[in-house]
C-alpha cells in the first residue's frame, strides 16, 4: 500500500536558517491554543473552593480596602463619581492585566513537559494563558453591574468601548508575558522578580486614584506606562467619563505596542532553545 505522503508538500529544514512561516504555523495550531486555554480555565475553576465566587469576591474586597485607604484615609477624590465605583472600574482593568501577566509569565515553566516532548509554535503557550485573565474579567464585570445598580447608576454609550479596552489590556498583558516567560526559561530569578515588578506597576498605574491626580510636570512620563492607558480606558468605558486625553492615550498605547512588538521579536529569537534549556 502506497502511503498518501507523496502528495504532501516537502519541507526542508536548514540548521542555519530559522523555521519560517510564523503566522501560518500559529493558525495551524489554533485548536491547541484553544484547548490549552480551556484547560487552564477549567482547572482553575475546578481547583478553587469557591470557583467563580472567588473571582467575584476579590474585586469586592479590593474595592472595600481601596475605599478605606485611598478615599477615607488619603482623601483621594474621584471627580463626582462614587469612589467605590471609580475604584472598581480601575480594579477590573488592573486585574485583567495582572492576572494575564502572572499566568502568561509562568506559562512556559508550567508546561515544561509540553515544550520538551512535542512540537508546536511555543507562542501558543503564553497566548492561551491569557485566558486565565479573561476568565476572571466576566465575574468581575458582573460585580461591577451589581455595584452600579447599588449606586443607582446606569452604563452609558461609552460601554461600547469595553471590547476595545479588553483587547488593549490583553495586548499589554501579552507583551509583558512574552518577555517574562521567555526570560524565565533561562533565568530562574526572573520569576522571583515578577511580583516586585507587578507591585511597582500597581503604584504607578491609576488603580486606586485617577490619572488626573498626577502632577502635570510628570504626566508625560506617567502616561508612558502602558497600563495607564488601559485602566483609564476601562474607567471611561464603565463609568462614561474619565481623564483620557487622546494624545496621552496614544502615547500609552504606543508604549504598550512597543513592548508587544519587542516581546514578539525576543520570544522568536530565543524560542528555538526553549526545549534545550528549560
Amino acid at each position: 500500500m502506497q502511503p498518501p505522503i507523496l502528495e504532501a508538500q516537502e519541507r526542508i529544514y536548514d540548521a542555519t536558517r530559522p523555521f519560517k512561516g510564523f503566522v501560518r504555523e500559529l493558525w495551524a495550531y489554533r485548536e491547541l491554543a484553544f484547548f490549552l486555554a480551556w484547560r487552564d480555565v477549567k482547572v482553575r475553576y475546578k481547583q478553587t473552593l469557591l470557583g467563580v465566587g472567588w473571582a467575584m469576591l476579590r474585586p469586592v474586597v479590593s474595592m472595600a480596602i481601596f475605599t478605606f485607604v485611598f478615599h477615607r484615609m488619603a482623601g483621594i477624590a474621584s471627580g463626582g463619581i462614587a469612589y467605590p465605583l471609580f475604584a472598581l472600574a480601575g480594579i477590573v482593568g488592573w486585574n485583567l492585566v495582572a492576572e494575564g501577566v502572572g499566568a502568561g509569565s509562568a506559562s512556559l515553566l508550567g508546561n515544561t513537559n509540553l515544550v520538551t516532548k512535542v512540537y508546536f509554535p511555543r507562542i501558543v503557550i503564553p497566548l492561551s494563558a491569557l485566558a486565565r485573565g479573561l476568565a476572571d474579567v466576566v465575574p468581575a464585570l458582573c460585580v461591577f453591574a451589581v455595584a452600579l445598580a447599588v449606586y443607582g447608576a446606569a452604563p452609558g454609550w461609552a460601554l461600547a468601548v469595553l471590547p476595545l479596552a479588553v483587547l488593549h489590556a490583553l495586548a499589554v498583558a501579552f507583551g509583558l508575558s512574552l518577555w517574562f516567560s521567555a526570560l524565565s526559561v533561562r533565568y530562574r530569578d526572573v520569576a522571583h522578580a515578577l511580583p516586585f515588578v507587578l507591585q511597582t506597576l500597581f503604584w504607578v498605574s491609576p488603580v486606586g486614584y485617577g490619572a488626573e491626580s498626577v502632577p502635570a510636570a510628570v504626566a508625560m512620563l506617567y502616561w508612558c506606562n502602558p497600563l495607564t492607558g488601559v485602566i483609564q480606558l476601562f474607567r471611561f468605558a464603565l463609568l462614561g467619563s474619565a481623564h483620557l486625553p487622546l494624545e496621552l492615550y496614544v502615547l500609552s498605547a504606543a508604549c504598550g505596542l512597543g513592548i508587544l512588538l519587542s516581546g514578539l521579536w525576543f520570544f522568536q529569537t530565543v524560542e528555538a532553545d526553549f526545549a534545550d534549556v528549560i
Partner: protein
C-alpha cells in the same frame, strides 16, 4: 528503495551544559549580568557536548526503522530534531509529510481533568484535529478499556489505567511519519502485548516509523531495518537482526562481575562471618552487561573466602522476581552430591543454571549452610541482578508467552 521521506544530511546537535556561573550556562539573570560586567569576553564560555554529529541517513516511504544504542547515544535527540522540538546546530534535513512524535505517553495530561477531557486535550497536543478525535473517541476509549471511568478525573485512575488511556490516544494518531521513543514499556504484560499488537498494525498501515527501543525483541520483531547510534554517530544501518546482533555483541570482552563488599545477611550466630562471598561473575554475558539471551544457560563463577577449615558445607541459590517473589532454588546437593569440606583460603565455584526464565529482570540470592547444624554460613539475598533478554543468542526475537512466569519445553509424539 522507495522515495525517501526523511533525509538527514550531516545533522549535528550541540548542547551547552549549564554549571559555570555566568556565560551561556548561567541559570540566573543576576549571574549572567554579573559575568558580563566582570569579564565581558569570557561570557560565552561554557562546557559543550555534541549529542549528535555528522548524522546522515535516509528513510524511505513506508519503511520501519528501529533506532538502537546505549543510554546517551543520542536516540532521543535524533527524534527531537526530526520532530522540530529542538533545532539542529548544523546540517540539513528534508521531511515529506505530516510528522507526529510520541516521545512519552500522556504528554499534556492533566490530573484534575476527566478521562474524556484529557483525550481531547492530549489529542490536540499530539496534533490531532478536534473532528478527528471526536471520530475516534469511542475507539480510543474501548482500546484503553476505561469506559466506566471516562468521566472521572484521571487522578483517580490507577497507574495502569492512566497509561492505557494515554497510549490509546497516541496509538490512534494519523500521521505519515511517526517517531516513537521507548513508550512500549508501560503497563502490565497483557497491555504491553496489546501495545505491540497495535504498533504492528500501525506499522503495517503503510506509515513511515522510526522506533527507538531498548527492547531488542521489539526491534527485531517490528522493524525490518535498524540504525545503530553510538556516541552521537551512526555506526550501522541495515537489517535489524544484524544491527541488533552487532549491538549486543559489542564489548563482550569484559565479563561483568559484581564485588560483594556489603555486609552479608546472617541470621545464625554460629559460623557467622567464617564464609564470605566476595565476587559473582557472569561467564556468558551479553552486550557487556549482566544479561543472558533467552534460553541460554546462566554460567556463574563465585569467589568466596573461608576463615577456617569447614566441613559439611552446602551451597545454594535462589532466583527471585524483582518484586521479591521466589521463583526457584537449588542446592548443590540436590542431585545426590555430598556436602563439601573446604580448607581455609579463597576458592571458586562454577554454577550452570538451566535458564527457564522469561525475558525480564531477576534477582539472584546466593548462600551456604552447614548440613549438620543447618546454620546459615552466609546469605546474600541480592547478590546480582540478572537480565534475561528477549532475543535468542543469535539475535532472533522472542515475543510470545508474555503472560507466563517461566518457560518450559515439552516433547511431542504423535501416534494413532
Amino acid at each position: 528503495m522507495s522515495v525517501p521521506v526523511i533525509t538527514a544530511d550531516r545533522l549535528g546537535k550541540r548542547y551547552t551544559l549549564g554549571g559555570t556561573p555566568g556565560g551561556i550556562g548561567a541559570r540566573t539573570l543576576r549571574d549572567a549580568i554579573g559575568a558580563a560586567i566582570r569579564a565581558p569576553r569570557r561570557a560565552g564560555e561554557a562546557r559543550e557536548l555534541w549529542a549528535l554529529r555528522d548524522v546522515s541517513f535516509t528513510v524511505g516511504a513506508g519503511e520501519i526503522l528501529g533506532v538502537i544504542g546505549r543510554n546517551g547515544a543520542g536516540k532521543s535527540t535524533l527524534l527531537k530534531l526530526l520532530s522540530r522540538i529542538t533545532r539542529p546546530t548544523e546540517g540539513r534535513m528534508r521531511i515529506r509529510g505530516r510528522i507526529a512524535s510520541l516521545l512519552e505517553v500522556g504528554t499534556g495530561f492533566h490530573m484534575e481533568l476527566t478521562g474524556r477531557e484529557n483525550v481531547y486535550l492530549n489529542g490536540a497536543v499530539l496534533g490531532m484535529r478536534r473532528a478527528e478525535i471526536a471520530r475516534k473517541f469511542d475507539e480510543i476509549v474501548a482500546f484503553a478499556e476505561v469506559e466506566r471511568f471516562i468521566d472521572t478525573p484521571v487522578k483517580r485512575y490507577s497507574t495502569g489505567m492512566f497509561l492505557r488511556l494515554a497510549f490509546a490516544v497516541a496509538a490512534h494518531l494519523e500521521a505519515d511519519i511517526l517517531l516513537v521513543d521507548e513508550v512500549l514499556a508501560v503497563g502490565d504484560a497483557e497491555f504491553q502485548k496489546k501495545c505491540l499488537g497495535k504498533m504492528d498494525e500501525v506499522v503495517h498501515a503503510g506509515r513511515t516509523v522510526l522506533f527507538v527501543s531498548h527492547t531488542m525483541g521489539a526491534i527485531t520483531g517490528l522493524c525490518p531495518t535498524a540504525l545503530l547510534l553510538e556516541h552521537g554517530g551512526v555506526v550501522m544501518q541495515g537489517a535489524a537482526v544484524d544491527v541488533v546482533h552487532a549491538y549486543l555483541n559489542a564489548n563482550r570482552s569484559a565479563p561483568p562481575s559484581i564485588d560483594i563488599a556489603r555486609a552479608q545477611h546472617l541470621d545464625a550466630h554460629h559460623g557467622a562471618g567464617i564464609v564470605r562471598l566476595e565476587r559473582v561473575e557472569l561467564e556468558n554475558p551479553f552486550g557487556g552487561s549482566f544479561a543472558v539471551p533467552w534460553k541460554e544457560p546462566i554460567r556463574l563463577t563465585l569467589r568466596y573466602q573461608v576463615e577456617q577449615d569447614m566441613t559439611n558445607v552446602v551451597f545454594g541459590l535462589r532466583v527471585d522476581s524483582t518484586t521479591g517473589v521466589p521463583l526457584f532454588g537449588a542446592h548443590h546437593t540436590d542431585d545426590g552430591a555430598q556436602p563439601v569440606t573446604i580448607a581455609r583460603g579463597t576458592h571458586h565455584l562454577n554454577i550452570i543454571i538451566e535458564n527457564t526464565l522469561q525475558a525480564g529482570r531477576y534477582v539472584l540470592a546466593i548462600g551456604a549452610h552447614s548440613a549438620v547444624s543447618r546454620d546459615i554460613l552466609f546469605l546474600v539475598p541480592d547478590a546480582a541482578t540478572l537480565d534475561v533478554l528477549d532475543v535468542t543468542a543469535t539475535g532472533r526475537p522472542y515475543l510470545g508467552k508474555y503472560g507466563c512466569q517461566t518457560n518450559g519445553s515439552a516433547a511431542w509424539e504423535f501416534s494413532d
